[in-house]
Symmetry: C2
Subunit: 694 residues, 2 copies
């Protein structure tokens, strides 16, 4: 299903709307929407539907949908679950284009609810009427003055159009974000809450918000993704439009994931895979609400630094040190100012320190020229991609505030392309003045630095091309899933394997060993033996022909004793592997996003430390290299502490090959496990492998 | 130097004070202090010293200290560095008890400044006058109405006495914390900024604030610790008084540590060792200012949960999920409510979900009894140590707010011993009302959960006895630092070593091998060879007497070829070690805190992943066990994924023994490196070791 950019057009800007279950009481859930529409100055027709009243909140009411003078664009369904389903069926029959269903008591609530939800799904499938909800808080478009929601948060005032759009599965969270964003003056233009997502989901909401010119940043929230493909298409749309998506995905923890299913009846899905999606599509994934709003605020400024080098100017050495610590935590660098610039400044202001962090010391309040000179030097310096300025509590001083605003404003004005984040304590009007001068303003220094880091990450993601999902590998057929079959498939896909042969007699074994070169390894080939070593099915370091004959017999005997019924398809003869580091390359099918490729170091790294990187399959070479570099133990492949420098290109090639094999055969291959791959300075060779048929 | 609890008495509550360099201009640095003292109603005598004026801000001024009618308790020195030193010398001569020096330009500022600071240190050493600073923002005691500071932050209003005390090396940061704490209504009673710490340091400040009955929580900040011993004594004092210390230590990162030295001329010190100190003395170490204030706020509530089990009640399923995720991040558990309690509630309220998180759904606003029942069930349940309640944005609704306040207030009132943190958005007066009902109130749910987790950690730390530093080992003498000497010392200290012998001839070697049992290992003993394996100095798996003879010769030849001048003290003959996991136990002398013991898994774990736990030496068995369990790779010692269950008691014994050896011989042993220790189900044996003399 392609994301229709116009999906939400009718739902966000209907020309007419019926409110089914409209209440005369403007503070009740079922009365609030009508009040909001009136207060907002919504220009379309509003038809309250209520069989018990002639007039509702001043408007003529109608006993049923059929009695309206026209078929409304949208039906707002504010009655309980059972009656909501009936109303939807009626609306669809009449040709209503869209419906928004507030009621809970559907799939999130036991069997009865699931049955009701299935009826809604049938209406959608058979009529094409678009449905938001059920179990949602509704939608609004401040641009179109349409407020199809009963959110209590709007009691505090209906918003003017603004550049932020919110797409949230959870109504309460969407409402929470809206309230916080408004408080910070970010301006929310659209809110879409999708609840149980019987039809419209967060993906569709993001996709159709992303194409709107009046949306600058999208805040997303979900507990589970209904349709992985649709979600990826929506993210691709946002990426093409360079609209940042700042996403909070809940249900990361096991206990959180359990709670998800009883809330919106979703499945939380694999968090590692979701992380991979965010990495590949440039989604700014955040962990906390504070972070989500900070990053949104940063995105609205519209300056995305092209690198991770931070210039720091502080009135206090202590704050400078803390900014350095925060930068380090966020992966930003703090390189020094050029020597000649430092020397020039030191000549004029011998008491300050200009290394970076620039420490102006408390003296600056007696000599404001120092502030001007330092700001200009750091903002003009091409060694920095962004600048953080700390003014500590000094702007609280009544005399200092105007001079500080003048200095910062002038400096930012001279360098409008430079991202400058300011951290200080000031009165509200002082903070506002700094913001109007073009600075990002934070009271907390850690949040200032973290936001700069997020914007640098956004720049990296937005600059990167979207993954090309079309270059899949060739289709293959998998029969028994034995090691030799797995290796043949992998070799055909482009993974290096040892030149090994399957033999069926002592004589063949000796000939094979002569051909591949001593010393060799002999391994049993059997679909019934998983851990070959445990049953005596492997003999290593076989030095000559006699030893090959003995080993051939030993392998058979060992397996026969341990697994009497095992079918033996032959014995594999292979040369000994080169010295190196064992890594694992694997694939599996994620329930939401399909085939996924994984990479990690072997042994305890993957088993105890969970040190694995994942990506949607297929990946290209560039992404494979990023996977390799993103594991914590990467140093062991890269010559750290005397380990050999492994051939990373060969490793990347193997990852790409496995990912393509997995992607092209998602229907027939359940999983691939190449374990271990021996990485060495001379290549990356699969030593053992299994391919499990679907 | 013992921490004198009364250190700060005279400095925080002098009976009389001279202001050297007093200015008639109440907004200047040198005029502000006098204004603050007047506005605060300070009852002691204030003597402005200014040779150029007869009257300063309405008080008679004096040309010099000598001209005052009495010797003041404290001199506030508000003149530049050079003149400040002269003033201090004069004050000390006259018998002034304490001085507070604002001026910068001392050790943080080049050679000239270092010389000036040395003169201040001489005054302190020769007269015993106590000095705060230089390069500090001063001190205040709101309890005593003494404001010996020029902090601009006080322009916003002088504080009333409150339960929070701040001890900060950085004046700007102390002032920043003060401002934020006041805004949150935490109430700051004391502020001590110590700057360059020529005399009074953060340790002394903490020690003497901890013993005051009017201090409930101490917020600390430092970039480097001057005197480790004094710091530990101060923390011990705070621990004895059960006064939580919430500490932000800056200079954690490399770039931050570099910036430290040019700020307060401190050394940042090892961050891992500082972490160990916090762990052992129950310091609540925080990373950000927000966290520092959140934890302080939590401590003021005075309820420290006795475990990590969290009950969650939310009006929104989405918030419940997020609380679970946050709990997981902070190491809190979210166990289910008992089945019978769930069943009882479900009978009354079939539409809600009571597993934990309890999800009241949006329906609760139509049926407040549900909220009362759910709160009571969770607060009364002994499966939880603390409770987090999320009301989302609902308290913003004017009708809901009073009912919510009533419900929460009543529930908290019935369970005054239970820590309840509330997260919601509300108007300021609403938030205040919830706070007055005894709840911890946070707008951000992550901060609510993180604070609960910090308070649980505080409870663990405060309940634990302080480490007993007295049980050191025996003193030994180290001569050459060879492996056999190291092993002898370790064996005497209580570390298990293999029954190995140093031999000096082939014959002795064979006899030794016969005695310890085949197969054996032969290793060269030489003070000139560090990596024995690299030079052919080790032969393993030696099976019989002939092989022993060959190996004896091979070891000598190998070493002679590789290191021609190497002195060879003999050859070690040892049995082969049991199979197991290699770990490392080491010690070194930290520049600030003295001997430290470290533990980690061998190989890549310690080298690439920095997976090491540290503790001040000596440690007891309990602490050794906590060290073992705190490494990320602990599972590999504990039977995870089929690895053997190692003898953790034996491992702890070895750590204790090394730590005691290190502690008892801090003067003569620079470092100990037992690498590897082979941990196995049957014990923990040192296979190689070195002891480096100081």
């Amino acid at each position: 299903v392609a994301v229709a950019a116009q999906t939400l057009d009718v739902l966000l800007a209907p020309r007419s709307v019926a409110i089914i279950g409209a209440s005369d009481e403007p503070t009740r859930i079922s009365g609030r929407t009508q009040r909001y529409l009136r207060d907002a100055g919504y220009e379309g027709a509003v038809y309250p539907v209520n069989p018990n009243r002639g007039v509702v909140q001043g408007l003529p009411a109608f006993p049923s949908l059929r009695d309206l003078p026209e078929v409304p664009d949208v039906a707002l369904v504010a009655v309980p679950a059972e009656r909501a389903v009936e109303a939807l069926e009626e609306a669809a029959e009449l040709g209503v284009k869209g419906a928004i269903v507030f009621a809970a008591g559907f799939a999130e609530h036991g069997e009865g609810g699931t049955l009701l939800q299935r009826r809604v799904a049938e209406v959608v499938a058979s009529t094409g009427m678009r449905v938001v909800g059920p179990n949602c808080l509704g939608v609004f478009s401040a641009h179109d003055r349409f407020f199809g929601t009963f959110a209590i948060a709007l009691d505090g005032g209906l918003p003017e159009p603004g550049p932020v759009a919110i797409a949230s599965q959870s109504g309460a969270y969407g409402s929470h974000l809206f309230t916080l964003a408004q408080r910070r003056g970010l301006g929310v233009g659209y809110l879409v809450t999708t609840g149980n997502e019987v039809d419209v989901d967060v993906a569709e909401a993001i996709g159709s918000l992303a194409v709107r010119d009046d949306v600058t940043v999208i805040l997303g929230y979900a507990e589970g993704i209904r349709d992985g493909e649709r979600f990826l298409e929506a993210l691709a749309e946002a990426h093409r439009r360079r609209t940042p998506v700042v996403f909070l995905k809940a249900g990361r923890s096991e206990v959180g994931a359990q709670a998800v299913s009883s809330h919106t009846a979703s499945l939380a899905g694999s968090d590692e895979v979701f992380d991979a999606v965010c990495e590949e599509y440039g989604v700014l994934r955040v962990t906390t609400t504070e972070e989500q709003l900070d990053v949104a605020y940063g995105c609205l400024r519209g300056i995305f630094p092209h690198g991770r080098r931070l210039g720091v100017v502080s009135l206090s050495g202590g704050m400078g040190v803390q900014i350095c610590d925060a930068a380090d935590r966020c992966g930003l660098e703090v390189p020094p100012l050029p020597d000649d610039v430092q020397a020039g400044l030191l000549k004029r202001f011998p008491y300050a320190s200009f290394a970076n962090p620039v420490d102006l010391t408390a003296q600056v309040v007696q000599d404001w020229d120092l502030l001007d000179a330092a700001l200009e030097a750091v903002l003009a310096c091409d060694r920095f991609d962004a600048v953080v300025v700390s003014l500590t509590t000094v702007p609280l001083g009544l005399q200092a505030a105007p001079r500080l605003q003048e200095a910062l404003g002038a400096a930012a004005g001279r360098h409008p392309e430079r991202l400058v984040a300011l951290t200080c304590l000031a009165e509200p009007e002082g903070l506002r003045a700094f913001g109007e001068a073009g600075l990002l303003v934070f009271e907390d220094l850690d949040r200032a630095v973290a936001t700069v880091a997020a914007l640098a990450r956004a720049a990296e993601c937005l600059a990167r091309d979207l993954p090309d999902r079309s270059t899949a590998g060739t289709q293959v057929s998998v029969s028994r899933g034995t090691e030799d079959e797995a290796k043949r498939l992998l070799a055909e896909a482009g993974v290096e394997v040892l030149p090994e042969r399957t033999v069926h007699s002592e004589g063949e074994a000796v000939a094979a060993a002569d051909a591949v070169g001593y010393p060799v390894v002999l391994k049993v080939v059997s679909p019934d033996v998983t851990h070959k070593t445990d049953v005596g099915g492997v003999v290593v370091g076989v030095e000559d022909a006699d030893a090959v004959r003995r080993a051939y017999t030993a392998v058979h005997e060992g397996v026969h004793v341990a697994v009497p019924d095992a079918r033996i398809d032959g014995v594999l003869v292979a040369p000994m592997a080169p010295d190196g580091v064992d890594v694992i390359i694997g694939s599996h099918c994620d329930a939401t996003f399909g085939p996924v490729v994984a990479f990690g170091l072997g042994g305890v790294f993957v088993e105890l430390l969970d040190d694995v990187s994942m990506a949607l399959a297929p990946v290209d070479t560039d992404r494979a290299h990023r996977m390799i570099r993103s594991i914590r133990g990467f140093g062991i492949l890269d010559g750290a502490r005397g380990t050999p420098l492994c051939d990373l290109d060969a490793l990347a090639t193997a990852i790409v090959a496995v990912s393509r094999l997995a992607a092209a055969n998602a229907a027939s291959i359940r999983s691939i496990d190449v374990n271990p791959v021996r990485a060495s300075p001379s290549g990356a060779v699969a030593l053992d492998a299994s391919v499990v048929p679907a």
